[in-house]
Subunit: 163 residues, 2 copies
DNA sequence: GTGTAACGGTTAACAAGGTTAACAATACCC
DNA sequence: GGGTATTGTTAACCTTGTTAACCGTTACAC
């Protein structure tokens, strides 16, 4: 029999250089794979009808900065104004915020969190922190702080404009 | 004038606690923001008709493991088999690989990189490494190695199954 | 041997997250 | 006042991915 008659076309999983596996040494690839895992666990933690990551992030800004503008919020989230509309609709639909008129400028509708929204955010942030503590339990507090610092070091130069 | 008559509904950018900004202290949020930046720079580096990150990743596996199966590749990339079809179509369309019949199993089509594909990958990985070196120039080699190690620490528990 | 289960690749329909382009209303500038 | 810029919004679209169904093929129980 020719050497090609193995059962499967050699998955060949183990005998690679392993020191210089190009893809596995790229930050970008590892960043994405890690984010996919964290996002999946976040969603599972928040449950079926829980807030998606982006909706949660938006609510966080609104609670921290009541009466923030949609344009301003979009800028801080790093997305387009148009993309924010659905997110604000979601939050408004949950009763977590209201679009309120602003006396000085009739174009603008300020985003003001409701009492329910503030409470929902308090609970969600607690859940999110618990989810990360659980998911990253293999890492020490120092390691988590380092990871945070390194991720911010990537962000800062790239977000210099959008504050 | 009532206190509401400021020009804008207070963007309120500076005077926040800053030590305990909930969202900014979450790994997941920073992971996503960092990945968006890295992905954007990767795309810009690869140019208009360059490979997308996922296509590049797939080619990397195929070059490293010639005759890998589509199912096996999907498992290693962490996506569904169905989602891989378009990626392989893309690579085949570029002439970077061929779906080849496997003697022992007529269900399977092994993915074999072409000479052009191997060369294109060599160039792409060099571009990718240059892009990361440029983008992450504020970090020391030690810091990059740490970041890589920490991201892998997130991945490993979550990918225990899919090898 | 044969019936049944499992597997590999594919397609179709859909969902999430985002973008660009246009628009109406409003505000700003001189 | 007239031209220009900004705000929120919609519509159309792209990307990346999923689930569900299908067909051909292989593995396996008995």
């Amino acid at each position: 029999m020719p050497p090609q008659s193995r059962k499967k076309p050699q998955p060949q999983g183990d005998e690679l250089p392993m020191a210089e596996r190009g893809l596995e040494n790229l930050i970008g690839y590892n960043l994405k794979r890690a984010y996919v895992i964290v996002r999946g666990d976040f969603r599972a933690t928040m449950g079926e009808d829980g807030m998606s990551p982006r909706v949660f992030s938006a609510l966080s800004f609104v609670v921290d900065m009541p009466d923030i503008t949609q344009s301003e919020l979009a800028r801080r989230l790093g997305i387009e104004r148009s993309g924010l509309v659905a997110i604000v609709d979601d939050l408004e639909g949950r009763g977590y915020l209201r679009r309120t008129a602003v006396p000085g400028d009739r174009r603008v509708q300020a985003l003001r969190p409701t009492q329910v929204g503030v409470e929902a955010f308090a609970e969600a942030i607690a859940q999110a922190e618990a989810h990360e503590a659980r998911l990253l339990q293999v890492m020490s507090e120092d390691e988590k702080a380092q990871l945070l610092a390194l991720l911010r070091a990537i962000r800062e130069p790239g977000e210099a404009d959008a504050i």
